[in-house]
Amino acid sequence: MSDYSIWVLEYAFTPDYHVSGVIYGAHNQGYRKLPYCYALIKGNGHVAMVDVGYNYEEYGKTLADRFGVINWRSPADVLKKCGVAPEDVDMVFVTHGHFDHFGNVEAFPNAKFYIQEREISKWVWAMSLPERMQWMMGAVDPGDILRGVKLAQEGRLVCVDGDMQDVIPGIDLHAAFDTHTAGSMYVTVRNDSKTPSQDAWVLAGDLIYVYENLGQSGDAADTKKVYIPVGLAMGSQTNLVLTTEEMMKSVGYDWRRVVPVHEERLKDEFPSVIGEDGLRVSEICLAKGEISKVTA
C-alpha cells in the first residue's frame, strides 16, 4: 500500500494552446487544450504541493484577454475537492520560477517552499543581459521574486543546490538544469520508501508537458516510442531528452508513472472527475486508508 496519495488538480485552462509549444517541432499542427494544474501529495503527516499556480489578481485579466486562459479557481476552492485547505499545506516544491508555477505563494501561509538556487541565480544573470536577449527572461514576475524575498526572510524559502533525497521520507527532488529553465527540477515520490523503488511516481513539472514527450503519441501504429522534448526550453532540448530518460529509468520505463500536469489525457489514464466548475481532479494513487476523491 502506498505511503502517499497524489492528485493532479486543474485550476484553469486554455482551450487553444499551440501544439508546437508542448511538442518540439510540431509546427503548423494547430492547437489543443492545455490544462493548468498543480499536484497535491498527502501522507506521512504531510500535505505537500508541487507548484502553486498563479494569482488571478495579478494576471487573470491579462491572461484571459490576451491568451484565452479561462476558468481560474482559487486554491481554496480547488483543494477543497480533496478535503484540504491551503493552510494545511506544509511544503511546496517549486519546479521552476515561471509565474504559472510560482505565482501564488501567498495563498499558502504555512508552507515552506523549495526551489533550486540555480533557478534564482540564473534569473539574476539573465536579467543582467541586454534587452535584445530578453527571450531568456520571459514569464518571470518581479512580484513573485519579491514575495520570494519575504519567504526567505521568514525562513520559508529553501534554495536547494542540486538533488535532495528524502526532503520528507520517500520524496526526492531532482535537479534538471538547463532544460525548460536554467534551474528546473522534478519530484519523485517513492511510495514504498525504498531505493530503488518499485512504486515510484515522477511529478515532472514542465519538463514533460504531454505524453508525446514520453514517446507516447497515442497512435497504435506508432511503434517507435521516441522521446520528443517540449517546445519551450530556455536550456536545451538535448538536456530535456536526457532528463526524460532519467525520469523513465527511475520508474522502470513505465511511462504512466511519469505524470505531466499539463496533459489533458491524464483523465484517460487515471480515475478522474470533472466538477461543476469544469475543472478536473485526477487521482494518481491513494495512500493506505485514504478515501477516493473521484469515485462516488
Binding site: H18, G30, Y36, R66, F67, F99, S121, V124, D141
Partner: protein, 159 residues
C-alpha cells in the same frame, strides 16, 4: 483594440528600454536578496551582486532624463524616475554592504520595502496596449508566441 495616439506610441517606444531595464533590475535585486537571505554559496552570491553595476543605474537615470513625455504622460514618467531612485538606494546596499545585509534582517526588510515600492510604481506606469508590461508572457505556458511577437501575422487554421 483602440488605436493609440501617435505621441503615446512615440513615447512608449522611447521609454520602453528604460521600463524593461527597471523591471529587470527589480528581479536582479530581488534575486540577490533571496540568495543572501537563504545563505547561498559565496561565488553564486558574488556573481549575482556583480551583475548589477553602479554604471547601469547611472545610465538608466540619463536615458530616462533624455525621454520627453507628452504632457498627459508626465505622471507616468515621474513614476519611472522615482523607481530609479528606489533602485539606486537598493544598489548602494547590495554592493557596498553585502556582509551587513546578510546579517541584518532589518536592513533586508528596508531594502525589500524599497523594491516593493519600485514595483508598485512600475505597475502604475504599465501600459499594456503600448507594450509596457511588468510580466513578459512570451515564454510561458500561456502564450501564443508568434501572434504575440508579430500580431499582424494571420493565425493558422486549427487542426
Amino acid at each position: 483594440m483602440t488605436p493609440l495616439d501617435e505621441d503615446v506610441v512615440a513615447y512608449s517606444l522611447a521609454v520602453s528600454p528604460c521600463y524593461q531595464a527597471i523591471r529587470r533590475l527589480i528581479v536582479q535585486f530581488g534575486g540577490i536578496l533571496i540568495l543572501q537571505s537563504s545563505a547561498a554559496g559565496g561565488s553564486t552570491l558574488d556573481a549575482a551582486i556583480s551583475s548589477v553595476s553602479a554604471e547601469t543605474l547611472d545610465e538608466l537615470t540619463e536615458s530616462l532624463a533624455a525621454v520627453r513625455p507628452p504632457f498627459r504622460l508626465r505622471g507616468r514618467h515621474l513614476q519611472l524616475q522615482r523607481c530609479v531612485e528606489d533602485l539606486k538606494y537598493v544598489g548602494q546596499y547590495t554592493r557596498s554592504a553585502k556582509l551587513a545585509v546578510r546579517a541584518d534582517a532589518a536592513m533586508i526588510t528596508a531594502i525589500r520595502s524599497r523594491l516593493d515600492h519600485a514595483l508598485q510604481l512600475l505597475k502604475t506606469a504599465e501600459h499594456q496596449a503600448a507594450g509596457l508590461t511588468v510580466v513578459d508572457f512570451t515564454q510561458s505556458c500561456a502564450c501564443h508566441p508568434f501572434q504575440e511577437i508579430c500580431p499582424q501575422t494571420p493565425k493558422i487554421s486549427r487542426a
